[in-house]
Symmetry: C2
Subunit: 401 residues, 2 copies
């Protein structure tokens, strides 16, 4: 029998009734003859409620203890789903991250999976039980409970699928991957399939449905992912290895991300050591830097800009204070109302002219951009959030998305 | 430095403010020079809320999954208390039952501690940290999370104190052990100290403050227990080994318990096998039987009565259905409105006449009793709940409680 790993997110298990519905879907799949491993997130707003309690006690709660606290959210979901499955006569067992052997290391609240001791999960599969695993959590070398940060449940699901040689199905509140976010461009098309490479770019650019890290793991271990609605039987999108049979348009999708801030550090004395020091301090705090741009040195000084997640603002501020103490005379400017707009397509590898087209669109529509970066299969621009709608419509029309 | 194990119950950590108060008390004690291990229960009504969710899914939720669910309650408390301690500058670390090495076996939802792998707790104590341990929970040989049933957090605290050679302080919403529940007899006296033996009897008879099991463990390992208010610095009651200096009245206390039901099985064919079968089935379901009485055989039949916790009614009904199928013709009667009234005193060992006095009190006050059982240091009666108040006042006055 094939093994399938299904993941249901927080909104899909947000109420008792929704948990019962998920149980029905899982039990049906099991009856159809597949072995099912289910990964679930915390119910709806649980994580926010728990975090709120911690913040009522401390403005900067200890991260190790936050992981201890947050991990209870998924533990509630897995036990309730397992109870619901048994109520339907479908034998099941719930496992915390620790019990499922999810080994992690790195920073608390954003740990990384290093390996999975899969024996326990396999044993229960061999007993013909549905195994319900807590997403988002694991254990470090000292036995501390860790959490994986944003999109962590997807990562748990993909990593389990990789270890089990299984397909990974991500059930969520959107019915697949679109060329553009349909809320921004109503005539956007749903893709039947998309390559890992393109999806990594789309995800890292904030296309919302999945986080980069889980796609990267899927790509490395060649785990096919299927993204679809958790509530209806409705065709979704396959994320898989690129093959020649895939539809090859120059541009597959347009990603828009409002979650970043842009930091500019002016008047940095130009030495390689100074620049390296800044980015090393950011890296040590596990801050995800994107869109780095730098002016040419002038009179021994340079200006550096980079974007980073809004959610890391607290950490970034702390690092920048530290940098200011080391490099007297620098000026730091933080812009919060920026939007990152990116076009992604594996076709860009073989077809040029995308950048030229983009610059023309921006010029024709009087859209100013602050930064531009390119990779083999994407081009990204930082623009003012005010220009977002205008830019999305113009780009989507031009590339027929 | 001495080690002290402090336990705070659910009402003592029922709100964020209460958790902050507990943190202040613990931090103060640590500053005074003691090493502190804190055991906490789930916040206020958390356990009831979680149980309600499970019961919305299944009328008879799987017990292993219930333990998985329930154990999140204490996990939330320990992480929040640890965050609160760190906020006060008091270094601390929270540990789940599993992490604290609480090994258990037996039935899910009422497992028993078999041993504690104390190394982890000791290591953190040696690092001069307050160790905050989740009460009520442990792990079984297969790595499943278990819970200890009613009063489980006390058991965790006493067992940890035993293993650490520490004093155990139970902080709660009553300020000590009383001769009679003050809600039933307003002039009841608070005891400065009470022996383990008497406390075991009082507890097993439902005197509410602590459960029997934890006192038994304390007695076995000679762990001194101090019961006091969690909110005020106010003298409480010591529970310790009996010594000759203790005040020796004939009767130390009066316990009243409304939590039991009385089951009577009439017309049981009188063979040792039949009776043994009934009680074995009850034992297999881990139902705590108390107050067994039996009529003399008449025409080859007997009637058996016993009391058991109201909370086990579901299990008892199932067992009785089974028994009915095996022994055709028996009749089962369940009385819910009964009260168990017991007088306890180590002085009864050396002074007789207590039973005679009790029978006279009941006769003078026209109180009917259904069962009577005695041990070396207690006498218990089952009466109608309607007669409770009358009986409590009469007995408390007679023995000057």
């Amino acid at each position: 029998m094939a093994i399938v790993v299904q993941k249901y997110g927080g909104t899909s298990v947000g109420t008792i009734d929704k948990i019962k519905n998920v149980a029905k879907r899982v039990a049906k799949r099991k009856e159809q003859g597949d072995n099912v491993v289910v990964v679930v997130s915390a119910m709806g707003k649980t994580t926010d409620i728990l975090l709120g309690m911690a913040e009522d006690i401390s403005a900067n709660p200890d991260r190790r203890e936050l992981d201890m606290l947050m991990s209870t959210g998924e533990q509630v979901s897995i036990s309730l789903l397992s109870i619901a499955l048994k109520e339907l006569g479908c034998d099941s067992i719930s496992l915390t991250g620790v019990q499922a052997g999810i080994l992690t290391k790195g920073f608390h609240t954003k740990a990384r999976i290093t390996d999975i001791e899969i024996e326990n999960v396999k044993k229960y599969i061999s007993e013909d039980r549905v195994v319900v695993v807590a997403g988002f959590q694991g254990v470090d070398e000292e036995g501390n409970i860790t959490t994986l940060g944003r999109g962590g449940s997807d990562t748990t699901a993909v990593a389990l699928a990789a270890k089990l040689g299984a397909v990974c199905e991500i059930y969520t509140d959107v019915d697949g991957i679109y060329t553009v976010d349909p809320r921004l461009f109503s005539t956007a098309r749903k893709l039947d399939e998309i390559s890992y490479e393109e999806m990594v770019e789309m995800a890292s650019l904030g296309s919302g449905v999945m986080e980069t890290r889980s796609i990267e793991i899927a790509q490395r271990f060649n785990v096919p992912i299927y993204v679809a609605l958790s509530t209806e039987e409705w065709p979704g999108t396959y994320i898989k290895e690129f093959d020649e049979l895939m539809e090859t348009k120059v541009i597959t999708g347009l990603s828009v991300c409002d979650d970043d801030i842009m930091i500019t550090i002016n008047h940095v004395p130009y030495t390689v050591n100074n620049i390296s020091m800044i980015f090393q301090k950011l890296a040590l705090n596990d801050i995800n830097i994107d869109m780095i741009s730098q002016t040419a040195p002038s009179h021994g000084y340079i200006n550096i800009s980079f974007t980073a997640p809004q959610s890391d603002k607290f950490l970034i501020d702390r690092v920048l204070e530290d940098v200011k103490n080391k490099l007297k005379g620098i000026e730091v400017d933080v812009e919060e109302d920026i939007t990152k707009l990116s076009v992604v397509g594996i076709g860009m590898k073989s077809q040029s002219g995308v950048a030229a087209k983009m610059f023309k669109i921006f010029a024709d529509n009087n859209i100013e951009f602050k930064q531009v970066t390119t990779s083999e299969i994407r081009i990204s621009y930082t623009i003012n959030t005010d220009d977002k709608e205008k830019a999305v419509v113009a780009v989507a029309k031009e590339f027929n998305l």
